[in-house]
């Protein structure tokens, strides 16, 4: 186990370094940044849905909450370090309260989906109606439908005038995604992560074994929200404006589609799904022959019908079928020779 986790981390770092080197040559860093941010958002739902079995229809709520928290705090503080931390904490705490209410109430799949959906809608409706001057937090106007523009963007900690933008901002986001990815890897290998997977597989059994299922689900839900909040704050920095559309149903739908297309139950799948589909949407946005929404919808229907497990598991399966047997036989051989060697020695 110890060697395999080390191997896992080294592979991740090498692949990430290669991607960091190659991708900016192919796609402009401005576009890449948002792909990375969406990848992180996809990962946040991939964690709680793919590994925790919690289908959250309102991941966009935490994304938007993170973005709004960052914007409001940045206007009030005039620098970006504390707002970044708040943008992670506020969604996490909000999710912990919401999750505690749902999981201790033993709500399951459909009802869970509806409640998270409804909470997202409440935020969306509320934020849309905050146009008046009376809706102010500190010195930040919530701005209703138009959102909040003109807040302090990311700066070097301690120096509010040293802005981080352009290529540098892309590298910050990419490293943030890498760190989050490694943390998720570590979490899933820890006993907490394995019990979470156990809860996904059989909740009753785990609760009979003495684990507090509701508490563990709440914590996992909250971790997912923290990641979504971070990506929301990064998105706010990228777009330099936050609007209520961050909370929209469409945004929630997209996150779920990313996970399905990329592959549930994998760490890489949601990231690839998010970045790939977002890039495709970007490319499609440049043509006007066929409506963008139509294609997104067709992709979703197609995947649910023909490839319900998503791209990454399908590719992995294909890989195993075409190359797996060779490797396995070789492995058996080496093991045999090794035992023979040990016996001889």
């Amino acid at each position: 186990m110890q060697t395999s986790i080390r191997k896992d981390i080294i592979t991740t770092l090498v692949v990430a370094a290669i991607l960091l080197w190659i991708m900016p040559m192919l796609i402009s860093t401005y576009t890449l940044t948002v792909l990375v941010i969406y990848g992180m958002l996809g990962l946040s739902l991939g964690l709680i849905w793919g590994f925790g079995g919690i289908l959250c229809f309102g991941q966009a709520a935490f994304f938007g909450l993170g973005a709004y928290t960052y914007a409001i705090a940045a206007i009030n503080f005039g620098e970006s370090t504390l707002p970044m931390l708040l943008a992670v904490l506020v969604p996490a705490i909000f999710a912990a309260m919401l999750g505690a209410m749902m999981f201790y109430g033993r709500l399951t799949d459909v009802y869970l989906g509806v409640i998270t959906l409804v909470v997202t809608l409440i935020l969306f409706k509320f934020m849309n109606s905050t146009a008046g001057p009376q809706y102010v937090i500190g010195s930040a106007k919530l701005g209703g439908y138009n959102g909040i523009p003109g807040f302090q963007t990311l700066n070097v900690p301690g120096d509010p005038n040293a802005y981080i933008w352009g290529d540098n901002y892309f590298y910050i986001c990419a490293v943030a995604l890498l760190i989050v990815y490694l943390l998720v890897t570590w979490l899933l290998r820890s006993s907490f992560g394995r019990i979470a997977i156990g809860i996904r597989e059989n909740e009753t059994r785990l609760s009979l074994m003495g684990y507090d299922v509701a508490a563990r689900k709440t914590v996992l839900f909250s971790i997912g929200a923290a990641i979504a909040g971070l990506s929301g704050a990064l998105f706010a920095n990228w777009g330099e404006i936050v609007t209520p559309s961050l909370f929209s149903l469409r945004q929630s739908a997209e996150i779920i589609i990313w996970c399905i297309v990329g592959g549930l139950g994998t760490r890489l799948g949601p990231i690839i799904g998010a970045a790939g589909l977002a890039y495709m949407k970007f490319m499609l946005g440049q043509q006007s022959l066929i409506d963008n929404t139509l294609i997104t919808g067709l992709i979703l229907v197609f995947f649910v019908l023909f490839l319900p497990k998503g791209i990454v598991p399908a590719v992995a399966g294909l890989w195993r079928v075409s190359f797996g047997r060779k490797r396995r036989s070789r492995g058996r051989q080496t093991r045999r020779t090794r035992t023979r060697g040990e016996a001889n020695g």
Binding site: L55, L294, T296
Partner: protein, 288 residues
Amino acid sequence: MDLGFVILVEMFYAVASLILISAGLAVVFGMMKVINLAHGEFMMMGGYATITAVNLGINVFVAMLIIAPLIVGLIGLVVERLVIRHLYGRLVDTMLATWGLSLVFIGLATMIFGNTTTGISTPIKGFTVGSYQVNGYNFFIILVTIAVLLLMLAVLKGTRAGLIARGTMQRSDMANALGYSPDRIYMATFFCGSALSGLAGAVLAPLVGLVPTSGGAYIAKAFITVIAGGPSLVTGLFASGTFFGALSQFFTFAISPVIGEVALLIGAVFLLRLLPQGITSKFFKGKL
């Protein structure tokens, strides 16, 4: 006195429109356990069918009450055969597939009708009560809703087809053994559900400006109403529709329409937390 009358009418109207919005979903989700996230888009298509038919010179009531349900029902039939048929029993997958379908319909409507607001004028004139103006069309919606509820009750309880449908939804293997084809019954039920959604969209079309994305406005409300209603189809629909309609209308008059909507949603969260299986799991048990 006049104000009281107006508020009463508005209250009835809010309840009626909530029930009307949810009726199609109650059949599709409540009976067949298919989470149809394209429900709002079915309503949107009902609205467009009505407007197109009226523009072609057909009487508005014929367009609303006959043509729109038929067209949307047929679209539902096609969708059921192509997509949903393969996904019965896979709750999450149907949900995702119908979400995809809703996006497809939005895209198609945008390509055909354009991303602009269309509408028709209400066919019934308003009248004044004291110093207030009351929309006469509201009464029509209340009447249609009552008719829909009675029709659902009559078909499900009174006819052989309703009995077979209910039986198949409970135990499809049993129905199969008795010689009925569950496949066909599911198909027919989905047709009815879609037709009801189309009817709702058509009847509400004169009141709202129609855009391809306007289905999204209904879907959450419809789901809340159906899920909060619980296992009994018609009674649950009526109970939760009344509860939510009255709640949101109360806050609308007391504070503002936005707060009314938010109150509805917050009320739903608390209701589901207290009665996760819906209202009729505790009250009016065993009713239809």
